[in-house]
Amino acid sequence: MLLIEDLRVSIDGREVLQGVSLEIKEGETFILFGPNGSGKTSLLMTLMGFANYTVTGGKITFRGHDITHAPIYERARLGIGMSFQRPPTIHGLKTRHLVSMCAHHRDQNVDVEAMARKVNFDQFLDRDINSGFSGGEIKRSELLQLMAQKPSLLLFDEPESGVDLENMALIGNTVRELLNGSQEPKPDKSMKELRADRTTSGLIITHTGYILDYIHADRGQVLHNGVLCCEANPRVILEHIGKFGYKECVRCLN
């Protein structure tokens, strides 16, 4: 699905990723840990293709296409979808309109109203996008857009940030559904078959690990000073960081 090879990235001449290599397979969910300023968000922004993030070396391949220098919208149309942590307000652009535009490139007539009800956001459809949205509202709005977009690789920067407990369950379950499809048993398919059908991959950044209570994460790694290290089960990494902090990761690197 996604193959990152020796990726080097700078912002205004400052190197933020120093040779990152990572592969995420179809249907796999990867968790990225790391202290503040380690380059996690930069990695996501680079994968999406934002102008400020200059790729100085390496290669990004997505579903067989070299997207290292592809424009943002091409990546989106190929199936990369990102949840923004601090999305901009666009005055005069109704949430409803944006959600239907998200689905537009799949040539589908989505029922925006029904979709919004799932994330308890139907009351917000006539509001200007992100205008005065709270932390939890931003998350639900981003998820709603992603539901319409149906990406095959989901990039999510801190799904827990600014979210209260009640919303956490809603957000966690929605992320799971985006990654796994519906969890409801179906008469024509066993749960095993349904799991095998999983084709959506995820790359998720978390500090607190709350999201791990809702999704099935396959692998995790720590990003430290622009370099990946410590590959393990995400729960194991989380427990370790909780006890010892990121100090041990640095030791692995040396």
Binding site: P71, R77, F84, I90, M101, H105
Partner: protein, 399 residues
């Protein structure tokens, strides 16, 4: 009216001087006798200005070509629509309304309008308590070359009545030269409501000098929507509303695009002359090469009273936007605020939309349409679609 406000009402020095003798105030007009004889292109241009010649969804119509009224009719007995000359004759010169809100000696253009031959315009009046659901339309169309149109419009909304007037002003084609002088006076009586939507479709050689003043009484409401998306040589206007009765409300929404060659000097002024009055002025301007002076002035002289002014401009290309928001409080306790911004489209917003699969042009266009926010005007669906289409067409020059 305060001294400062008086001073501000004279035209600004930035405007080019022009020779009024270049234009014919009478005689040169094309002399269209029947609106049905207009060509398809003319009709198309009028449609773009919100004027429906099939008269569908309208309570009445006043249509004028050059210096002659060609159609004046009402489908609703509660709305009176007359040619202004007929109204002056019938009502002994309309002493309460004619040159009452607008002063004859306000500036050079009001003096010119007063001295030249009056060439039409409308008188509209809604009976007390009558809420007219479908809009009345008026159209001032210039077809002849080098025509000067000197019109005088009066709208009276009697107590507790309601009216929406859609007025389209246009020239037949883009290259013709013309001068449009329009005096408009609005009188909204106690509890009345007037919505006035004006759409301008002039040409590159048209000078436009409207002078508009409205008076709103107790509990009355005035809303203005102004749309200018097409080229014009110059527009200079500063519609002013006096909220003279308690709880009166005025709201202005303007959407202006100035392509290369256009000079648009326009603003709105609200006088909060009574307690509990509220005023709001919102303007959205885009230059794609022209010059825009976006003014706004709220004068609060009674308390409690609230006024808010919002002027936002986008520069796409090499144009100039000069925002001049003015707040003038003359009494303690008045609440006036403003928000002005002139800039470009934020890259962050474009990238956000691109991450949802829109290419750069689609993203820019979506942001521009949101910025212009015509929806806020609450126009009839068909008119809103027409305006959207015009914006879409003018986007070709934007980016």
């Amino acid at each position: 009216m305060s001294e400062l406000a008086d001073k501000a009402q004279s035209p600004p020095p930035a405007l080019p001087k022009f020779d009024a003798s270049k234009y014919a105030f009478s005689g040169k007009a094309a002399g269209i006798a029947d609106i049905r004889s207009l060509s398809t292109e003319d009709k198309e241009r009028l449609l773009m200005s919100g004027v429906d010649l099939d008269l569908v969804g309208r309570s009445g119509s006043y249509l004028q070509v050059d210096d002659k009224s060609v159609h004046c009719d009402t489908c609703d007995p509660n709305v009176e629509i007359l040619d202004i000359t007929e109204a002056l004759r019938r009502y002994d010169g309309l002493p309460d309304y004619f040159w009452n809100a607008v002063k004859r000696d306000q500036d050079d253009f009001t003096r010119m309008a007063d001295q030249e031959v009056l060439q039409g315009g409308y008188f509209m009046r809604v009976k007390a308590g009558m809420k007219i659901t479908e809009p009345v339309q008026s159209c001032l169309f210039i077809k002849g070359e080098a025509v000067a149109q000197n019109v005088h419009n009066i709208i009276v909304v009697e107590e507790d009545a309601e009216l929406h007037v859609i007025t389209g002003c246009a020239t037949a084609h883009n290259e013709q030269s013309a001068l449009h002088l329009g005096i408009s006076e609005f009188y909204v009586k106690k509890g009345g409501k007037l919505t006035f939507t004006m759409i301008h479709n002039w040409g590159e050689k048209v000078m436009v000098r409207p002078r508009t003043v409205g008076i709103v009484e107790e509990d009355g409401e005035f809303q203005s929507n102004y749309v200018l998306l097409k080229p014009v040589e110059s527009v200079q206007s500063y519609p002013s509303i006096h909220l003279n009765g308690p709880r009166a409300v005025a709201r202005f929404n303007s959407v202006i695009v100035a392509p290369t060659g256009s000079l648009v000097d326009t603003g709105n002024r609200i006088f909060l002359n009574a307690p509990e009055t509220r005023g709001e002025i919102i303007s959205r301007t885009i230059t794609t090469g022209g010059k825009i002076i976006a003014r706004g002035h709220i004068i609060g002289s009674h308390v409690p009273a609230k006024g808010h002014l919002e002027c936002k401009g986008l520069i796409l290309g090499n144009g100039i936007i000069h925002a001049i928001p003015e707040l003038e409080g003359t009494v303690s306790g008045v609440e006036l605020s403003h928000e002005a911004a002139v800039g470009k489209i934020a890259q962050e917003e474009i990238e956000y939309l691109m991450a949802r699969g829109l290419d750069e042009d689609e993203a820019t266009s979506t942001i521009v349409r949101g910025f212009l926010n015509v929806e806020i005007m609450g126009l009839p669906e068909k008119l809103r679609q027409t305006i959207d289409k015009t914006i879409q067409e003018s986007e070709k020059d934007m980016f």
